[in-house]
Symmetry: C2
DNA sequence: CCACATTCTTGCAGTCACTGCACTTTTGCG
DNA sequence: CGCAAAAGTGCAGTGACTGCAAGAATGTGG
């Protein structure tokens, strides 16, 4: 067995098929009528699922539109980050990006989502809000790295510094993902975009 | 008449008094029970106002908690920014901060809000979401400044650069406002915090 | 001080997102 | 096949929010 494909049971295959069917229906409706003019009931009728089940799957009306939350990264990646010594913002963004790619969506869904995001920026704000939930946990990683790297730095200063590292990374992330999505969409190139963006930020904040 | 106090009519005075009464009630309830366990009806009962009127005033349940949206800055400030030549991120943040201070709230309300924000970070995410609405307009200002400053820069590059300037500013803003709120809350010191934060960002992204 | 226009508040009825609970169906497994 | 666990669904309810139209408060010109 090359990669992790644990021969999904019927149960999981059904779940996956359903998820995709609902996502496609939801995205198609949202693209046609606009997010605000689509109701959960419409999505459910179009995808032949009960509203109750819809919420079991996606939690919120927008859940099927914005896709699953990025998963928490592997322990190995986390360790690599915490003990890394490269440029901290780049390393952090790579870590985030990896979580982003861990959940591989259906190609068609991916394309529709891309189109919808361009049309309705409010969804991006939603993404940010959801990310904010993970922010706490991620900030903790940054603090661990700072402590590991500068054992002499006072705690409060490290905390502030961690906050700012997070700000820059999370702030630049939408820009990078937009560029990346619009231009290639190829996972291998993410790193390039990250480096380019950070270089630009460096120039921007330089006197 | 020293400052602009255009002798409010009875109508406006009533509105102001009401607004403050409702805000206080809402904040007190949210501080006591937590935002999620407070209903609009509770707020209305506590502040003796009809739910319909509540929504006329604040639009959303959280409206009374997070306060009014920062107003669009004066034309004069905008021009100053567009033709400014200082460090662009600092200038932008000052512009945003000014909009923030233009709507002066009641002292007591301000203090309660400060406390609530510390207790419920989700409200900060809400702020960000609301700000996102103004993002488009603000990005346009940044583009104007870039065009003014670098007439030779290609449009797409300027657009990307504007996005990144926005990212850094909006990303760092919550951090700065947190520091400022926690430590002094004095308008005059905002500038200091902004400079300090940018200096730190510079260090962070430097190789 | 009094009509009259304007503006604001309010009640009502309705829509929609979302949830807990209990019931049925589906699936995995011995 | 038969049974237990898991998943889907219907139902009833809560709570945010909206449009509408009636009623109250306010500002204004006489």
């Amino acid at each position: 067995m090359p990669t992790a494909t644990p021969v999904l049971g019927l149960r999981e295959r059904n779940r996956l098929r359903r998820t995709r069917r609902v996502e496609r229906a939801a995205l198609a409706l949202a693209l046609e009528h606009g997010v605000d003019d689509v109701t959960v009931d419409m999505i459910c009728e179009a995808s032949d699922i009960s509203p109750r089940t819809y919420f079991n799957y996606f939690g919120t009306k927008e859940g099927a539109l914005i896709g699953p939350a990025p998963s928490t990264p592997d322990e190995a990646f986390v360790e690599e980050f915490v003990h890394g010594r490269g440029p901290i913002v780049e390393d952090l963004m790579l870590l985030i990006a990896r979580g982003f790619f861990a959940t591989e969506p259906d190609r068609e869904v991916f394309a529709m989502r891309r189109e919808l995001y361009a049309k309705e920026p409010s969804l991006q704000a939603l993404q940010v809000t959801r990310m904010a939930g993970k922010r706490q946990a991620t900030a903790e990683l940054v603090r661990r790295r700072l402590a590991d790297q500068h054992p002499d730095m006072p705690a409060t200063e490290a905390s502030d510094e961690a906050q700012l590292v997070m700000s820059v990374a999370f702030g630049a992330f939408p820009v990078i993902s937009r560029l990346w999505i619009e231009q290639s969409g190829d996972e291998a190139e993410v790193e390039t975009y990250i480096h380019a963006a950070i270089a630009r930020i460096r120039r921007i904040v330089s006197p």
